[in-house]
């Protein structure tokens, strides 16, 4: 269990516009993802926990050990913190073999225990064959596993990973996720993972903290955050939403229903707590929740007529861009059947907004 409450301010200087980090969270066993764009303070947070950066105030508590406490001036050096840190470039010592890299981390333990731990780690991370080789002589996957093994061999109280998948090709990325899932299952260590990849959050994260400009703007399970972004900022950061201006025309908590107006169209939605009739809001729907049909029928409730402007091919789907900035993702088969259907005007489509998918911000 790690509890973090830190504040750090970098003043405005001629060469920088200043930055302030101010956040509070805790993480238990399992993977917690720090998600945010570059410059949001993710790595700074890890470095404050590991002891490379001294916050201005706050407190970092790991299990029942105080790593940092601004009020009493406690600031343990990185050596005394027992945090495993996996660096973006792995930082395996290039002049040592993989085995020596692992031994370095347990050098102060009794010889028998050292030997046992190193062999156990080499076996667990399938590194026995490469143990005698140096980092530049082994494969990328082996380097990756070795750096994780090295971070874990000293039984750290928390494992910190700084964008471990950055710059990896797809197979290596998949391998990394498999290793991390294994780690999550085998070790009781809380894992803090820095990432700006939403797929990664879903792949690995039990908890997700969304960071923006040094603040946590939302936290929760990745699924929950994607289902209901807390505000427009979060929705923009996640980057996977239709964000459309609209106005609330009617709200009925009793029947759990609402009516919103978007341009010339009226849509039925669920009741939106916390909003008032007449509010100008942003409608927030994921492109894959919408259904598009090329049949140009009369607009019926929860359908919007729009003109198809462009199609963008994606590996597993096709993204349709409509007038009014509406994006719809459909499967390739679906798109082809719709396209082939006879229509008096190929560009006119209707888009259905399923009632339950509607969210407003």
């Amino acid at each position: 269990m790690i509890q973090v409450r830190i504040r750090k301010t970098f003043p405005v200087r001629p060469d920088s516009s200043g930055f302030s980090l101010d956040l509070e969270f805790q993480a238990a066993a399992g993977v917690t993802v720090l998600f945010g764009p570059s410059g949001s303070g993710k790595t700074l947070t890890l470095d404050s926990i590991a002891g490379f950066v001294r916050p201005d105030e706050g407190r970092v508590l790991l299990d029942d050990q105080i790593l940092f406490d601004g009020a009493t001036g406690v600031h343990l050096p990185p050596q005394a913190r027992n945090c495993g840190y996996v660096f973006q470039n792995y930082a395996l010592f290039p002049h040592m073999t993989l085995r020596q890299n692992l031994e370095f981390a347990v050098e102060r333990r009794p010889r028998l225990e050292r030997h046992r731990r190193v062999n156990e780690m080499l076996e667990r991370f399938r590194l026995q064959d490469a143990a005698g080789r140096r980092p530049h002589e082994v494969s990328g996957g082996q380097r990756q596993r070795c750096s994780i093994a090295r971070a874990l061999i000293g039984s750290p109280n928390v494992l910190l990973l700084d964008e471990p998948a950055q710059g990896l090709d797809a197979p290596l990325r998949g391998e990394l996720y498999a290793v991390l899932r294994q780690v999550r299952a085998d070790f009781k260590t809380p894992v803090l993972l820095v990432s700006h990849d939403l797929d990664e959050c879903f792949e690995l994260g039990e908890e997700m903290l969304v960071l923006r400009e040094g603040r946590i703007v939302q936290s929760g399970t990745p699924r929950k955050i994607l289902d209901q972004p807390a505000n427009l900022d979060v929705a923009r950061l996640l980057g996977t939403f239709n964000l459309l201006p609209a106005e609330i025309r009617a709200l009925d908590p009793g029947r759990n229903s609402s009516r919103v107006v978007m341009g010339d169209f009226e849509l039925d939605g669920p009741y939106f707590p916390g909003h008032l009739k007449g509010d100008r809001v942003t409608l927030c729907v994921r492109p894959e929740q919408l259904r598009a049909t090329s049949k140009n029928g009369r607009p019926v409730p929860n359908q919007v007529a729009a003109e198809l402007l462009r199609t963008i091919e994606k590996p597993h789907s096709v993204r349709l861009e409509f007038s009014g900035g509406i994006l719809v993702d459909v499967s390739r088969a679906e798109y082809e059947s719709q396209r082939d259907r006879e229509s008096h005007d190929g560009q006119k489509w209707t888009i259905e907004f399923p009632r339950e998918a509607l969210r407003v911000l």
Binding site: P78, A91, P135
Partner: protein, 223 residues
């Protein structure tokens, strides 16, 4: 022609001892300059670099003031060892040292700074003390450049003239190093001796530079 090779042996001995002394003190200062942030860091850097830009005679003058027979350090030396420091081969070592030390610190600092910070950070999170970090990670990773820096310092020690002349003098058979001997030979019209000595010292310098250049480019791959 009978050539007195004493200056060559003396120069080599002086250069070896002064390089060793420069390494002992210089690596430490270079490491601190490369890794720590503290007040007066730039002042320390400037103070260390100063001998590089001062005229050798000025350096020699300062040394005479600091370790001359009238100075406290000079007197202490005389009390402890029974003979004065100035105008001995040990003074020549001191002269060569002050001449080569800044160069060593400069290049060793660059060597330490060239080591990727993430290795040092990794070592720290793995519980390594600063001492173990230096000997097991930073120094091995920078060792080629440090050897190159030492080679340059050695070559510079070998070639010192002005400072040596000021504090060690020109006593044939006692404090006359190669550089001084060459000057002496030219002054006294012994052109053949001067040519031989010049060729020898050029060859040594060239060999050292070649060695230094071969050491530097090979490094470790990181990712």
């Amino acid at each position: 022609m009978q050539i007195d090779w004493f200056p060559l042996w003396l120069s080599l001995r002086v250069a070896i001892v002064s390089t060793a002394l420069a390494l002992a003190a210089g690596l430490w200062i270079a490491y601190i300059l490369a890794n720590r942030e503290f007040r007066g860091k730039e002042a320390l850097d400037s103070a260390v670099t100063l001998p590089l830009v001062l005229p050798p005679t000025v350096l020699g003058y300062y040394l005479l003031v600091v370790v001359g027979r009238a100075s406290p350090i000079g007197r202490l030396w005389e009390d402890v060892f029974g003979s004065p420091l100035v105008f001995t081969w040990k003074a020549a070592v001191l002269a060569a040292w002050i001449h080569s030390f800044p160069l060593l610190v400069k290049s060793a600092r660059a060597a330490f700074e060239s080591v990727d910070r993430s290795y040092e950070r990794a070592a720290r999170t793995l519980g390594a003390s600063e001492w173990r970090l230096f000997w097991r990670v930073t120094a091995p990773l920078a060792h080629r450049q440090i050897f190159a820096a030492a080679a340059l310092a050695f070559a510079r020690s070998l070639g010192d003239f002005g400072v040596t002349l000021m504090v060690a003098g020109n006593i044939p058979g006692r404090t006359q190093t190669m550089a001084v001997a060459i000057y002496d030979a030219v002054e006294s019209g012994n052109g053949r001796l001067a040519r031989v000595l010049v060729l020898v010292i050029s060859a040594i310098a060239l060999a050292i530079l070649t060695l230094a250049n071969r050491l530097v480019p090979e490094g470790f791959k990181t990712r």
